[in-house]
């Protein structure tokens, strides 16, 4: 399959990239790992006269941290995330998403910025980013701004970003003690899958009486964007953890929070049923982790 003809740019700085994006407008596409963009171009789903690669911008390929936060550059790959000590230690649900995206070859190229901007409802890292309350960092000609990740997703493939802005990174607050998180994705086979359903849960407990102080649940593949399961979360706050509580939360997530469709990967009915199961399971595991941390 041939790629269409385009001009290619490799800016060395974020500023340069912004200027190029401004200059070429909607005829320009940003290239990170290329595992989505180049496929779409080959299959003639989109066109591009100009391609701006972000991969040489040093600021974008780093994971920085201080005591409170981690900042993941937009061009950090899945493999880098999986191998990062801080991600392994403090953000295991995100690592799970990164570990399971596509396959090992894709993971060496696919970036977190790409996964986020692609805004697929089934995106592998998105539910975890949501339950970790990631902040999107955008940079434009007028400077940087942040927004919570939930607000960023507007629909399949649609994000809330100005035409002259770049997503430069994600900021995640490092979870304190007594927290746990887990992510499960479900497909038909065990590699190279686009998820039928995927769920992440985050739980913070009171170490004394083990009640749930905070619960955050994010559901993928059951709405036009990944979504928080607010009804289910409400049902968990300040409650004592138990198997039946997690089951109940799953039922609420299934019945009230998600709005899946039928497509050739799965029916709405099945997706709903799996939301129930995966919510229950991710909560149980997140709770178990919270107990030991």
């Amino acid at each position: 399959m041939l790629l269409p003809k385009f001009e290619f740019y490799e800016p060395a700085s974020i500023q340069e990239a912004i200027e190029l994006k401004q200059k070429y407008g909607p005829d320009a596409k940003l290239l990170a790992g290329g595992t989505d963009l180049l496929v779409h171009l080959k299959k003639k789903r989109i066109t591009a006269d100009h391609i701006i690669s972000l991969m040489r911008i040093k600021d974008l390929v780093q994971i920085k941290m201080d005591e409170a936060c981690v900042e993941i550059g937009a061009c950090v790959t899945m493999a880098q995330l999986s191998n990062s000590q801080i991600i392994q230690e403090k953000f295991n649900a995100l690592k799970a998403g990164a570990d399971n995206l596509g396959n090992h070859l894709i993971r060496n190229r696919a970036t977190i910025g790409g996964n986020v901007c692609n805004a697929s409802p089934a995106g592998d890292t998105l539910p975890a980013l949501m339950v970790y309350q990631a902040q999107i960092i955008l940079q434009g000609p007028t400077g940087r701004r942040k927004m919570p990740i939930e607000s960023f997703f507007q629909g399949p493939g649609k994000v809330d970003m100005n035409a002259d802005e770049l997503l430069v990174g994600l900021q995640l607050a490092i979870p304190s003690g007594n927290c746990g998180a887990h992510y499960i994705q479900l497909g038909k086979r065990k590699s190279s899958e686009i998820n039928v359903v995927n769920v992440a849960s985050f739980v913070q407990i009171d170490p004394g009486d083990q009640t749930i102080i905070t619960a955050r649940i994010a559901l993928g593949s059951v709405a036009p964007t990944p979504i928080r399961s607010f009804y289910a979360e409400d049902a968990l706050n300040n409650k004592t953890a138990s198997e039946s509580l997690f089951y109940e939360a799953g039922e609420i997530a299934r019945q009230k929070d998600c709005k899946p469709i039928n497509d050739f990967r799965g029916t709405a009915e099945y997706r709903k049923a799996m939301i129930g199961v995966l919510t229950k399971r991710t909560l149980a595991e997140a709770f178990r982790q919270a107990q030991i941390r």
Binding site: F8, E10, G33, G34, T35, V39, K42, N103
Partner: protein, 167 residues
């Protein structure tokens, strides 16, 4: 408009003028005569085009040649350097891990990358390390055995049934 790139391929520097829309796979196969790297889908789904780029196994059909300026690329042709087969290649041959051979160059490059990164890969690490390389002929069994045979020491945790018998 073509761009000049300077890329190291199998330890040889190539200075080339390439169109931006040329993939690394096509550059290797059609411009440099390095046809060992194969194309089984051209959309990053099969891994037949696997090369090692800056130390990581990647689908060369999803890398633009222009992105490889200053990069190091290892292809299947670079493995055996005139002294006979690389041990991984010899292991694939010995263990019967090759049937039609079309996935083999990509598979072997992924195998090499596993062993570049893990001296003693576990069962799971081997499976993960070729998860992007599809093989329709072998059922992967003898591929697992071939890769495992190259571990720095025998790992009793591996579960390939007769894995370490000398065939």
């Amino acid at each position: 408009m073509k761009r000049i790139i300077s890329v190291s391929i199998n330890n040889e520097i190539h200075e080339l003028a390439v169109e931006p829309n040329k993939t690394l796979a096509d550059l290797l196969r059609y411009d440099l005569g390095l046809t060992g790297t194969k194309k089984g889908c051209d959309t990053g789904d099969c891994g037949a085009c696997t090369v090692i780029l800056n130390g990581d196994a990647v689908n060369s059909c999803l890398v633009l040649a222009v992105q490889t300026d200053g990069a190091t690329v290892e292809t299947i042709e670079g493995l055996s350097n005139g002294d006979g087969l690389h041990p991984i290649q010899a292991a694939f041959v010995e263990h019967g891990a090759i049937q039609c051979g079309f996935c083999s160059p990509g598979m072997i490059m992924s195998a090499k990358n596993i062993l570049d990164k893990h001296q003693n890969p576990s069962d799971q690490e081997i499976r993960q390390g070729i998860s992007g390389n599809l093989c329709r002929c072998t059922g992967y069994q003898k591929i697992f055995k071939a890769i495992s045979s190259q571990c720095s020491d025998t790992n009793p945790g591996n579960n390939y049934g007769g894995l370490h018998e000398k065939i």
